[in-house]
């Protein structure tokens, strides 16, 4: 991303954050005022996370942390900052352009390198699967598959490029730390090659840098792993803890990424558990009288609230295509329903995304845009909340995993 300006800048609405029903204290969540959330600041299981624009200084409403990757079994390591913390995906992905280590390549049974194409909505990540030890805070996972993002080492096949536009070059981050609900990025679907053309294959083997890559099946253990699930302790999930954003926008905000749920004195479960569909990771949201069933998710890697609405959009040729640009701040409410039968109201506000041009603020609590057919609770949802992400199959307390809790 070469554009010097970040996409969105915020409203000038003094006292805005105090204007809706959750009150000024910072809390927010199911109905009524709640006290400000407590941010855990110390512990071997606590990593610092910041909403600060990221390494390129142009990324609003995105949270970044630091990870250390090592050649497996050695002390040859590299510490990399500017890693996007993403509850919407699973697995560690690092830009090859920032990686100075030479990591061992994962190979298919015939000896060819394994390369992955992982689609996101705004593009796909492409590059080889390599092995690394991963350390975050004092937590360690040994010899796990990660993805190294590179357009040039292998040729992305048409079956990959037809899924969207490549996003490697303009991530606005040095990598992505996927700490979502799943232990692997793909799951059992990828254990065999899907033979129907309508069914996408994320994993390939590539005989050479110029060869046409072929789809390959990957066992669960071979797939790119959520590093958290492989920590020796505190592996059943994470908590993202951010304070509320004062006045609706701040230059930056710092919080904590806490590993484990109910495994230490600093990570007890609190809040309401919203069980997720174990296949999709989604739950349900009712908004404006319409139920979006199994179409709602909590994604720190989305930089706004995204949902269907008739709120005026900023315009396709504006600097914020797809974002909302109401003439005055809209105070809204939606109800989330977990697959376990829980429900709770979320109050949120949407301000004019374009009114903000020129601001140096990267933490924007009222940023939102359109999404047809579902509800994407992006980073603004995390402000003033402790959000729990319980990973599938890892035995977190509080009910059936995977789940969200807040």
């Amino acid at each position: 991303m070469k554009d010097p300006k970040k996409l969105l800048i915020l409203i000038f609405a003094v006292g805005l954050a105090c204007g809706f029903s959750t009150g000024c204290g910072g809390g927010s969540s199911s109905s009524g005022s709640t006290p400000a959330n407590t941010i855990t600041s110390t512990g071997a299981n606590v990593a610092s996370i910041s909403v600060n624009g990221g390494p390129a200084g142009n990324y609003p409403d995105a949270s970044f942390t630091t990870v250390t990757v090592c050649v497996p079994g050695t002390s040859t390591c590299q510490t990399i900052d500017g890693i996007l913390v993403d509850t919407g995906s699973s697995g560690l992905r690092i830009l090859s352009s920032v990686l100075t280590l030479s990591l061992p390549q994962q190979k298919a049974s015939d000896g060819n390198p394994v390369v992955e194409c992982l689609p996101f909505v705004s593009g796909y990540t492409w590059g080889p699967v390599q092995m690394a030890d991963v350390e975050i805070a004092s937590e360690k996972a040994s010899s796990l598959p990660i993805q190294v993002l590179s357009d040039s080492d292998f040729v992305a096949p048409a079956s990959c490029t037809s899924r969207g536009m490549p996003s490697d070059g303009n991530l606005g981050a040095n990598g992505i730390l996927g700490v979502g609900l799943f232990a692997q990025d793909c799951g059992s679907y990828c254990e065999q090659v899907q033979t129907a053309a309508g069914d996408f294959n994320p994993y390939y083997e590539c005989a050479s840098s110029t060869a046409t890559c072929q789809a390959v099946g990957e066992s669960l253990a071979q797939q790119v792993q959520n590093p958290v699930a492989l920590f020796s302790t505190d592996h059943n999930g994470v908590i993202l803890e951010f304070p509320a954003v004062s006045g609706g926008e701040e230059a930056s905000v710092s919080g904590s990424l806490v590993f484990g749920i109910g495994t230490q004195s600093n990570n007890a479960l609190s809040g309401t558990v919203y069980a997720a569909d174990p296949a999709t990771g989604n739950f349900s949201t009712t908004y404006n009288g319409t139920a979006y069933s199994d179409a709602s998710f909590i994604d720190s890697g989305s930089n706004g609230y995204f949902f269907p609405s008739t709120i005026t959009q900023c315009g396709s040729t504006s600097n914020a295509p797809g974002f909302y640009c109401p003439s005055s701040t809209q105070n809204l409410s939606a109800t989330n329903q977990g697959a376990n039968g829980t429900s709770g109201t979320v109050d949120f506000s949407i301000a004019n995304a374009l009114t903000l041009s020129g601001s140096d603020d990267f933490a924007l609590s009222n940023l939102g845009g359109t999404f047809s057919g579902g509800f994407d609770w992006g980073l603004p949802f995390f402000f003033g909340r402790n959000v729990y992400v319980a990973i599938e199959g890892q035995g977190a307390p509080g009910g059936t995993v995977p789940y969200w809790a807040y």
Partner: protein, 146 residues
């Protein structure tokens, strides 16, 4: 309101996709190796193709025989080149241009006079739709495309 009027699983080769004729539905079905179910509304029919692994594509065909809209839902985004056909290049250019406007991961929203493409979700769950406003049968609102 839709009325189920046909269930078919045969496939005929043809060209593809958005803006194409009804034969392109079969091309997509063949491409996806999916099963096809067709329902009818007052001024168009909906052809739903389901892949072996559960990806669903719905193609909206006007009584004039044109595919004017497509929706999809599944673990991964669909083959956009196949589904958008002649509109793929326009989509790709618009997506690329939008990527240059600002940094950030967010649902895809391309709204041009001749083409609308929207997609959201995350790995293991994507949904979206594409339509050509000029091809919508009269009286059909974009909201009908679900």
């Amino acid at each position: 309101m839709y009325a189920l009027f046909a269930v078919a699983s045969s496939a005929h080769p043809a060209l593809a996709a958005l803006g194409g004729d009804v034969a392109s539905v079969q091309a997509d079905q063949l491409h996806m190796r999916g099963t096809l179910r067709t329902t009818a509304a007052t001024s168009y029919s909906v052809h739903e193709i389901q892949s072996p692994a559960g990806a669903v594509v719905r193609e909206y065909v006007s009584f004039a025989g044109k595919v004017f809209a497509i929706t999809w839902q599944g673990r991964w985004p669909p083959d956009m080149r196949q589904l958008l056909g002649n509109y793929f290049d326009q989509y790709a250019q618009a997506a690329k241009a939008q990527g240059r406007v600002g940094t950030g991961r967010r649902p895809l929203e391309i709204e041009q006079p001749g083409l609308v493409v929207q997609m959201g979700g995350h790995p293991r769950s994507f949904r979206g739709r594409a339509y050509v406003p000029d091809l919508l049968p009269s009286g059909v609102a974009a909201e009908a495309i679900q």
